[in-house]
């Protein structure tokens, strides 16, 4: 379902342009608002919909096979750590779902450089970073040399 942008909600901030994996959300040079320049290269991944601070982006199912009258709306709230969905069928039925998106604060991942510097011997061995501890078994499995 390709995305489209509501004229009255978009303020042209460009966050959708910045995030779109397909590079198809662009700013219209006349209206200074975003639009989908290439709907047939849209994967309906919703990255732009989730990123839009104005909730200006929606989707309309691909014309090839999706009859009109449906909607799948999303609200992704990083502070709350949830993503909420509202599905509306063509015949009016609704379904709602909420899922967690993250269990730790955003930005809290440690750089690998914050851990003790590994030895040159460790570099030559087969264990990767944080192994074997992070495997939660005693030792990295191995096969006999062939």
């Amino acid at each position: 379902m390709p995305t489209f942008v509501y004229m009255t909600r978009c303020d042209g901030c460009g966050q959708c342009v910045d995030i779109c994996p397909s590079d198809i959300m662009h700013i219209d040079p006349i209206y200074r608002r975003a639009y989908n320049i290439e709907p047939n290269m849209c994967w309906e991944c919703y990255a732009c919909v989730k990123a839009c601070p104005q909730h200006a982006i929606d989707v309309r199912g691909y014309a090839d096979f999706a009859p009109l009258g449906h909607s799948v709306r999303v609200r992704r709230e990083e502070e709350k750590g949830t993503v909420s969905w509202k599905i509306k069928f063509r015949d009016g039925r609704e379904k709602n779902f909420v899922s967690p998106i993250r269990t730790t604060p955003w930005g809290s991942i440690k750089s690998p450089a914050d851990y003790d510097r590994p030895s040159q011997d460790a570099l030559k061995a087969q264990e990767l970073s944080h192994e074997p501890e992070k495997l939660h078994i005693d030792a990295l499995p191995a096969l006999p040399p062939q």
Binding site: D23, C42, A66, L128, H130, P145, Q146
Partner: protein, 614 residues
């Protein structure tokens, strides 16, 4: 002044250059930094690593997790599983290597904040199947990207890498890469001691079922433009199993995945008349592939084959029986959230067509073919195996180094290692990252040197489509039809038609033969000439132009490998009608290709499959 001459050249020096910031690239960046504390690690990405690659949309399951800490599986078991699914042909050394490390990657993901579902009774990760665990993965990619950003010295988003650069002081050694910024149009020359290709596999090389607005709703992401293959092929790296394209059984039109439905929700398929059909085809499959049909679980391609035969027999559509499972509210929630977490379009299709699986058993379809290296398929570059146990002829250097010195790969890029999925691709990136650090540490003096003449020539070539468009557009009044150039979409649609009709796409029921391949390659040859006349009216279209170049080169490789393997190894993925049976006497082997970068000539050979696991 020509357009290209006004483009600034930006030089970026690094020790390790990671091309592609998906799961493979993020793993490579993390591990490169862990082992190479003083090295400069640069990630370059076509989009924005926050939401790029195959997992941009999220995932609802991690499909490769051993659970060694609970003694659920051992790495050997995963090798047997992948080997069975791929009809005997996998790089067991590489597969074992991913399997023995993958649990530590998944444990790191959980520590970083990925919500992994738990089995309330056992406290262990909730299993969807023997290898799969269930997650709330809407933010899977942003979480992994955060780790990669912390690890990398610099991340360059919105730069499309078009070519690798080779060392001018030593043959067959990589020296970096070039590309252009899709935002400011500058030309980038990345000079590096080691390069890790972690780019994407290939959607849109075969014509998709939907060709209008819906052509973007491919199973694999439309931005997976075969750079994983084109970049190594361009510099003469050997490739393997490029004929091993994958076809997926999926929910119709949205390509919603069926794994959770089969494994967790215990739904099942039936034909239009309510009959189980797989058993019907048992005898005829046995005639084609012999004992492989008796392997458990039944290989993915053979299940596809039964599906396809049933459709051809006129008993479609095939449906997934969901009504019983969806009577359970928990299962209904899982069924929907499974799509919302990774294939939102399927939810849209169902909402638009009033399909509530509680009341309607939804249709399934077999997709068009895709070429990639991380799902139930293993196309990719021929790579050196782990130092501690890989057979001698699978080892010529550092782990995950291709046949070009200093060129490493991970994820879709590396061939022979099916069923790695997101966690395995990240893990393979980690393996490649550590290897690249070793390679750089051992290098000492004599770092590779880029050749100014080479990158200047590439700069001219990279911007040529804009030049071509600028000149050609004045020839015509308006519109898209020009005698002087092809637009990228026009070239893409020609490629998809050729591959579809001659190399085993949906319009021939995945069937091809030697004469069809020969004709297909003639037409591909003309397309290769014509894409030197692409016209791009913007930087965005320039990106599309280079994506097409990459897709065409990968497609040629697919066609040549398909021609070379004179058997039907994976019925249900594709059929060599002139060699309809599996032939273990002659073809229990890998196919390898190398394109000579100087002449463009291809050489094909066989490589043995070493079964190092019983």
């Amino acid at each position: 002044m020509g357009l290209f001459t006004s483009r600034k050249t930006v030089f970026v020096d690094s020790d390790i250059l990671v091309i592609g910031g998906g799961f493979g690239g993020c793993g490579a960046a993390y591990e490169s930094r862990y082992w190479g504390r003083d090295l400069k690690v640069v990630v370059v990405e076509k989009a924005n690593i926050e939401r790029s690659g195959a997992v941009a949309q999220g995932l609802y399951a991690i499909n490769c997790y051993m659970g060694m800490r609970w003694d659920e599986n051992q790495p050997e078991d995963h090798v047997r599983y992948a080997r069975n699914d791929l009809m005997g042909l996998v790089r067991e050394d590489l597969g074992y290597d991913i399997a023995r490390h993958v649990d530590s990657s998944v444990h790191m993901f959980e520590e970083w904040g990925l919500p992994i579902m738990k089995n309330e009774e056992t406290g262990r990760y909730l299993r969807e199947g023997k290898w799969q665990i269930m997650i709330h993965g809407e933010s899977y990619k942003p979480i992994i990207a955060e780790a990669a950003r912390k690890a990398a010295t610099e991340v360059y988003n919105r730069i499309m890498v078009t070519h690798l650069l080779m060392d001018k002081t030593r043959p067959n050694r990589v020296a970096g890469a070039v590309g252009f910024s899709v935002r400011d149009g500058n030309f980038y020359v990345f000079r590096a001691k080691a390069v890790i290709v972690a780019a994407g596999g290939a959607s849109h090389i075969f014509k998709p079922h939907s060709v209008g607005e819906g052509m973007g709703r491919t199973w694999y992401a439309p931005w997976s433009s075969a750079s994983a293959y084109a970049l190594p092929i361009q510099v003469g790296a050997k490739m393997t199993q490029m004929e091993n394209r994958i076809v997926l059984t999926r929910f119709k039109d949205g390509y919603g995945p069926v794994g959770a439905y089969f494994l967790h929700l215990k739904t099942y398929t039936e034909n239009a008349y309510g009959d189980d059909y797989e058993a019907t085809w048992y005898d005829s499959i046995k005639e084609l592939v012999g004992d492989y049909v008796d392997h458990q679980p039944v290989p993915t391609c053979l299940r596809n084959h039964a599906f396809l035969q049933e459709i051809k027999a006129g008993r479609g559509p095939i449906r997934m029986v969901t009504k019983e499972a969806f009577a359970d509210p928990h299962k209904e929630t899982v069924g929907w959230e499974n799509f919302l977490g990774m294939t939102i379009g399927q939810a849209v299709v169902w909402a638009s067509q009033n399909i509530d699986p509680k009341e309607t058993n939804p249709e399934l379809i077999m997709s068009e073919p895709y070429v990639m290296g991380s799902h139930a398929t293993c196309s990719g570059a021929w790579a050196s195996g782990p130092e501690d146990y890989a057979p001698a002829d699978y080892q010529w250097g550092y782990n995950r180094m291709m046949t070009v010195e200093g060129l490493f790969g991970a994820g879709d890029t590396i061939g022979g290692t099916a069923h790695k999925f997101s966690s395995g691709s990240f893990t393979e990136g980690r393996i490649a990252g550590k290897s690249a650090v070793k390679y750089v540490s051992d290098m000492g003096h004599g770092a590779p040197q880029v050749d100014e003449a080479e990158y200047e020539a590439l700069k001219k070539a990279v911007y040529q489509p804009m030049e071509t468009y600028d000149v050609g557009r004045n020839e015509i009044v308006a519109g898209t039809v020009s005698p002087s150039y092809l637009l990228p979409i026009q070239g893409l649609q020609r490629l998809e038609k050729i591959m579809d009709e001659y190399v085993g796409g949906t319009s021939t029921n995945y069937l091809t033969n030697e004469p069809m391949l020969t004709r297909g390659m003639e037409l591909l040859g003309m397309l290769k000439e014509d894409i030197n006349h692409l016209g791009a009216d913007s930087l965005h279209q320039l990106q599309r132009a280079w994506e097409l170049h990459h897709r065409v080169l990968a497609s040629e490789s697919v066609a040549r490998h398909t021609m070379f393997r004179e058997e039907t190894r994976w019925p249900g993925y594709y059929y060599r009608a002139d060699h309809p049976q599996l032939d273990d006497d002659n073809w229990h082997c890998f196919t390898l290709s190398r394109r000579d970068p100087g002449t463009g000539e291809w050489a094909m050979e066989k490589a043995p499959v070493h079964h190092i696991i019983d």
